[in-house]
């Protein structure tokens, strides 16, 4: 089982290295197959580990393995340690399964691109980074994976390096993530200072003894900062929509498998610390709830098909934060899994639409594509229904279980429950606005003119297969856990993270009825507004401006961070660096040159003058000696 974990971790890395070193010796197609095969190998290895761990009794399912010790200073040891426990195996399965489908889809999507090999090397690196993150057996390995995920996302978002917008988006994502990395690193430094160790267990034991102290709160806040940055929650959410500049499979990978879910994983993994800092845990849940609403509202006015899906991701991750913050860890992880399925499905289906329209992403130009792309429409519809949480698709089971947990978590939880319900309504509205705009109605003039039927070649087959597989998963993925009746997943995850709240059957029923009702209401309104057009689109200039500017977060950060920094550096450049630093160096250089010029006048080239000056000098010296004596 340990060997399987290592294979799972290292297969994508091996593919990334092989593609990079092989260079043009790999054909473009072969690089894609190699990357896909490596991630599929990871999935098989993860499955092997999963089945072998099932054979152990539930209390003995945590295995730590250290390949070698990395750092050793006094009593402080950090090694290349892997952790295999139910939580990490669960994440490994999701990451490698969804990852393999997305990388396989890319064989078709990226077919004919100039730099396919580089793309597949990055994709494999991305999956490796995420696997390292979820398998890391101590905080340092976690941080290494965390940083590598940030690096790979930077490389992939900026994959079209000839487009300035893509480069800017990549930098934005990297800087926002670096902020989270920094707060996490600070939290780890506090842990080292307090416990002298970076192992998970030492941190958990210490936090129990130090419950409620400022140090625990500080550590939890630092971890939360990292989670918020990686998962694009308030207030570090602005990088995620811009990250849509990357190719569509990259968006799918970031949203479904390898990146934004890392924050939720961190909250669940370090839950024992968060439980000793209840204030910070409430902040996490509150931030999640705020993000649900904010992202849902912004998604209503977006016109780019990928951006709508991006905002829906933010909002769904908000549900997971809400659940993890309130202590419903298993429900949070459950939603993470179903979300990975239907979000990857939505992105990949959107990729098919974009491909068929030769790269167009503006929904205003689309319309009536149901007639051209019936199977893509079906897949997209499944994804949209799952996202809205319509039974019996996967999103229904997982989202409603989080909402039911919120209902069971006291007054604060009930406030968040209401926010979550509003989010469910918004989800139905913006998702089906997208569905009706893209697929509904009569084909638009633009779609008629630019529609391009994909050729049924082998790469195209890969895209179809991936989307089909994900559609099946998005339908059945929720059936592994049905609230109140059947909960193998919660039992499996229990040793890693014991849930704090158990909703009653009545609460489950209440939450489900309300959430599904509101979701359907959202769909109905979207239908009335965008398909039947019985209701006009509500016009409110101010509201629209606020939403289109994404609640002015970019502008706020521009004013609060960017402009003062630029002002400060300009001032320093103009009034300090240029006049004082550069000025003094210039003055030294010019005066040295001037002295040199003047001294050369003395060198006449006339031997007799030299002789005279030597004689004169000797005479003066002689006279001095005589007189002084």
């Amino acid at each position: 089982m340990i060997a399987a974990a290592w294979v799972c971790l290292l297969a994508p890395l091996g593919a990334a290295v092989a593609i990079t070193l092989g260079g043009t010796r790999w054909s473009r197609r072969a690089a894609g197959y190699l990357a896909t095969a490596s991630v599929a190998t990871s999935f098989v290895a993860a499955a092997v580990a999963f089945f072998s761990i099932l054979g152990d009794p539930p209390e003995e399912r945590t295995h730590l393995t250290t390949a070698w010790t990395w750092l050793s200073a006094g009593n402080f040891d950090v090694g290349l340690t892997l952790l295999v426990d139910p939580l990490s195996i669960f994440m490994m399965l999701i990451v490698s399964c969804v990852g393999a489908l997305i990388v396989g889809y890319s064989i078709g999507y990226m077919d004919g691109d100039e730099e396919e090999r580089r793309f597949f090397a990055y994709m494999a690196l991305f999956v490796f980074s995420m696997l390292l993150l979820v398998q890391g057996g101590n905080y340092l390995m976690l941080l290494v994976g965390w940083g590598l995920v940030g690096l790979s996302s930077y490389l992939l978002i900026g994959f079209h390096h000839e487009r300035p917008a893509a480069v800017a988006a990549a930098k934005k994502a990297f800087i926002m993530n670096a902020f989270g990395d920094a707060t996490m690193a600070l939290a780890f430094l506090v842990l080292i200072q307090r416990t002298g160790s970076l192992s998970f267990d030492a941190g958990f034991e210490w936090s129990e003894g130090a419950a409620g102290s400022w140090a625990v709160n500080l550590v939890a806040l630092g971890l939360l900062g990292g989670a918020v940055a990686k998962s694009a929650q308030l207030p570090l959410q602005t990088w995620l929509p811009d990250a849509m500049e990357g190719p569509t499979p990259v968006s799918a990978l970031i949203h479904a498998a390898t990146m934004v879910t890392a924050g939720v994983y961190l909250l669940v993994r370090t839950a024992p610390i968060f439980e000793q800092a209840p204030g910070v845990q409430d902040i996490a849940a509150g931030l999640g709830a705020a993000t649900i609403l904010l992202a849902g509202l912004i998604a209503l006015v977006q016109v780019d098909i990928k951006r709508v899906i991006a905002y829906s991701t933010m909002s769904q991750i908000g549900y997971m934060f809400l659940g993890a913050g309130l202590g419903a860890y298993a429900n949070s992880m459950f939603h993470l899994m179903t979300h990975a399925f239907f979000k990857a499905l939505l992105f990949l289906a959107a990729g098919l639409v974009i491909h068929a329209l030769l790269g167009e992403q503006d929904m205003r130009k689309m319309g009536g594509l149901r007639q051209f792309l019936p199977r893509t429409y079906l897949a997209f519809l499944i994804g949209a229904l799952a996202l809205t949480g319509i039974p019996p698709l996967s999103g229904f089971f997982s989202k409603d279980s989080i909402l039911a947990s919120a209902l069971a978590a006291g007054t604060y939880g009930q406030v968040l429950f209401v926010v979550g319900l509003a989010g469910a309504f918004l989800t139905g509205l913006y998702t089906f606005r997208m569905v009706f705009l893209v697929f509904g109605g009569e084909p638009s003039a633009y779609a008629r003119e630019h529609f391009h039927r994909p050729e049924r070649t082998e790469p195209w087959l890969w895209m179809g297969l991936s989307v089909g597989a994900l559609a099946v998963l998005a339908v059945i993925g929720g059936w592994i856990q049905i609230a109140g009746i059947w909960h193998p997943l919660a039992d499996f995850l229990k040793p890693a993270a014991e849930p704090l709240i158990e909703p009653t059957g009545l609460q489950d029923l209440f939450a489900s009825v309300l959430a599904v009702g509101l979701g359907i209401a959202g769909v109905a309104i979207a239908w009335a507004v965008y398909s039947a057009r019985t209701i006009a689109v509500p016009q409110s200039r101010n509201m629209q401006a606020v939403l289109e500017h994404k609640f002015y977060f970019d502008e706020l950060y521009d004013w609060v961070f960017y402009r003062p920094t630029v002002f400060l550096t300009r001032t320093l450049r103009d009034y300090f660096e240029r006049p004082i630093l550069l000025g003094s160096i210039d003055a030294i250089a010019t005066s040295a040159r001037r002295i040199g010029n003047e001294v050369t006048e003395l060198q006449t080239g006339l031997v007799r003058t030299y002789a005279l000056s030597i004689a004169g000098g000797v005479t003066v010296l002689a006279l001095v000696f005589v007189w002084v004596k």
Binding site: V599, T604, G605
Partner: protein, 101 residues
């Protein structure tokens, strides 16, 4: 005893001064070399004088060393003069001033 020490030294200084003036005033490199030799010999005379006066051989040995150096220097100097002459340049130290700053 011959003439007093002062006389030897006076002649030595006189020779040195003549040589120095020659170096500084004459423009022909040949004469400059000759004047240099006169200066060296003035110095040699002073060395030998003091050697006699103190009854020690150091000064005389030093004078021999000076002569050897002078001979070597003349070889180099005359070689330079021949080289300059071969290039059909004027034998005038004031015109050989290419190395001015």
């Amino acid at each position: 005893m011959g003439p007093a020490l002062t006389w030897y030294l006076a002649i030595s200084a006189f020779l040195f001064a003549i040589g120095a003036l020659g170096v500084m005033l004459r423009r022909s490199p040949l004469i400059v070399l000759l004047s240099l030799e006169i200066m060296l010999n003035g110095a040699n005379l002073a060395l030998i004088t003091f050697s006699r006066h103190h009854g020690e051989l150091d000064g005389q040995i030093f004078a021999l060393a000076v002569m050897a150096v002078a001979a070597a220097e003349v070889v180099v100097g005359l070689g330079l003069i021949v080289a300059v002459h071969r290039r059909r340049l004027d034998l005038d130290v004031d015109k050989l001033s290419t190395l001015r700053g």
